[in-house]
Amino acid sequence: MLDRTANSLQQRLLESERLMDETGCYDGITELRLRKEDPLKFETLHTKLRAYCVSAREMARRISASPGVREVGEMVVAIYTPEGDAIALSNGIMVHVHTMSRFIKWMIRNGYEQNPGIRDGDIFANNDAFIGTVQVPDVMDVVPIFFEGTLVGWAGAVCHELEAGGITPGGDVCLAQERFTEGLFVCAEKIGENDEIRRDYVIRCERNLRMPIYWVLDEKAKVAACIDMRESVKQLIGEIGLGYWQQLSKEYIEEGRRAQLARTRQLTVPGIYRGHTFYGHVTEGKPGFQPLADPNWLYNIPIEMEITSEGKIRLDFDGTQPWGYHSMNCTPAGMDGGMFVTLTQHMNFEGLVNDGAWMATEINIPHGTWTNPDNEMAATATSWALLLPAYGVFQRLLSRGFIARGFVEEAFVGQVNSPMIEMGGTSQYGTGFGMAHFECAAAGSGALAIKDGLDTAYVGWNPESDMGNIEIWEQNMPMVYIGRSIVPNSGGAGKYRGGCAFISTWLINKTDHLRLVTSEHSSRVFDNGGMCGGYPAPTCEKHHAVRNSDIFERAERREPLAHAPGTDPLVSDFERTYKGEQVWEEGPYITRPHKAGDIFSHAYNGGGGFGDVLERDPIKTAWDVENGFLTREAAEKVFGIILKDDADGYPQADIDATVARRAEMREERLKGAVPVSEWIAKESERVRTSDFAAEVAKMYRGAMKLSPRFAKDFKEFWGLASDFAIAGEK
């Protein structure tokens, strides 16, 4: 066995990887000796480590000034081995437990022991996604843990910053088309020594951010959390001994790896699972976009998942689109992190949760695609735009396995994008400001296989979803809420509907310059799916705003206000109510600044549905209509549920009429549908002549160029010659 104290970290990392290759077990731990000797001690000590993490995070949240961290909990902390593998973690934005692991390993591989040196009391920070994070606002700090002169681990913390100093205000810098416009980068930098953040680093933050108080106080919060965990771990090692700790921490990870394999074998079925989703990005004609590439993109995101007989999960993104000059690219760190956070939610509900689970998986992210750009100048500031839909597919694939195996209570139609609003300009206090509005951390979830999805209560990146209090948001931005309400029908239809989203409407207040920017919402296509007959949620909403509205005059006259755009997709309640310049904006909301008196609304996304709509419970549907989750129109048209009013005027299901209507709908289905073979024969003519919109044709060309397998499968499916090419291909 390698001497764990005498060798350099770099040697230890290489040796750990070699042992994994050689034995198939983490760090060559073929036997869980300590667990076997004293399982209670083994479990108790892990619970202690987890408690250190949870408590450090809660303490840190109270140091932060950012409502994203304080209110919504956009933070996570973890404890690592010297080689950078996570041993224990807190709740929160768990995606970063693994991205931090990448960051630590990157420093080790790049000779940080020699220069700049790794010493007790040092603080290292990073937000470079190619080193190890997801996007520029995810800033991570790690500190080494030394015990009597020996490096025995790392403590790390991440906060999602509400302002990153990019070309557009906020953290998810939508307009960034290359790395150089994403904002302030800290590239695996030593930002402090002797437990103190360097003054010159703080000055750099203060000079390069629109709202440095968020970032700088978050740094202090993270460093405090790291020191807290470090001291707790040192105390623990003092109690159990260094040798015990070194063996124990490795066994935890190996146990996590084995548990993941066992859970996969327990909950799923081996085989090949496939699914896909799409994402539309429309920027044509928007101010600020540089003509670096085509303005509009349609992204296909196909995923093939193999569950091997060993219980290993292999994900393959072959066939997806190239990276592009937009901010939605993702790095391998982000892709790994997405896998990690999905597993922690869906399979790691018992036993130890750590990097071991991730080690029981494999992922193929083809070089040159958005999942693994071959150009490190690519921007990744809104990588969630593609990452969330992608891992929503993964959730559906896993759920297919749960359903096959009988664990229907775990099946879940998956996560969706929850579009962000970023803003900047002049605050209500007359000062410059910038912020990301994080109420998006509470979207609708996909349906379950046994019940409706959660309404306004789930996002994939933080299972501890929370939209935050209106009053807190209003303190931080020059807008006041005039509405926050459920969006009817925003969950995908099905026997069990997807969870509904909410929409907020604001009056811009006490400012003459407010820039609003939105990101991570698809245009022209839905970026989610249903399952087992359920429909996708409608996730290509446009934005509604009113410039120079007469809201103050209406209020003066005591006339009613419109608090949401309403349920008529062609004429909004804003148009019916307010005078002023009506705005319907498709794609990212990037327009000229707003001012006091303007009205702006922004809808989040609901989740996909499960099962056939004609099996939905009519009584539950009547309740949904009464409470604004579904419209009467949808109940009848989509679900075939006929409602009448009871004596008090509340909707009540007419069961007989519903049964009759549904029988008619089944007849209509059979009458209107055609055999798939017939459809394929007809549709193949369209494919043969490449009768597609320009963006669709470009998508096929992109997929075929990067993936011989996609090209082969496509041609075989449609019966095309092997030399077939989509028309217009250069």
Partner: protein, 165 residues
């Protein structure tokens, strides 16, 4: 070891188990005998006697039959060899106009039909909607699931299936 009665599994699968009980099941250690109880519950649900080997969707099952191992709808309709994509033997309705998309999304913004269409796959016998795809025009139909059926029974369940010709 955790275990539940067939009645509880039946109610769980049907979505009729009270939430507090469902929640307890979700929070507890998983019951290792779930699979065969689940199959028994599903077998009681169908009017045909071919043994169900593996559910692949809400109302679609791989079962043994006189014609070999097939994918069968709960109503009894056969989609043929389970190794082939059952969707290719289904009926399809494609929503690729504003009018047809509005029928499902009456109050929302809808996709641009030149970028995305909604495909519905029905059972030709009972008209059950088994799956929905939201895809770009021209996108091949997806084969959702190719289980390693024999490997599953042999290596994971320890009950190898009888060999079929």
């Amino acid at each position: 070891m955790t275990g539940y009665s067939k009645e509880v599994i039946n109610d769980l699968v049907n979505g009729t188990l009270p939430w507090p009980q469902t929640r307890r099941i979700m929070s507890a250690y998983k019951d290792d005998d779930r699979f065969f109880k689940y199959l028994a519950v599903l077998q009681d649900r169908v009017s045909w006697s071919d043994p169900i080997l593996l559910p692949v969707s809400d109302h679609l099952f791989i079962c043994d039959s006189a014609e070999g191992r097939i994918t069968r709808c709960e109503c009894g309709h056969s989609f043929g060899d389970y190794r082939k994509n059952w969707k290719l033997k289904a009926l399809i309705n494609v929503r690729n106009t504003e009018e047809s998309l509005r029928e499902i999304y009456p109050n929302s913004d809808i996709p641009d039909p030149s970028w995305m269409e909604i495909r519905e796959f029905f059972c030709p016998n009972c008209a059950h909607l088994h799956e929905v795809e939201a895809a770009a025009p021209g996108y091949p139909i997806v084969h959702d699931f190719e289980p390693d059926l024999e490997g599953f029974y042999r290596d994971w369940l320890g009950k190898p299936l009888k060999e079929v010709a």
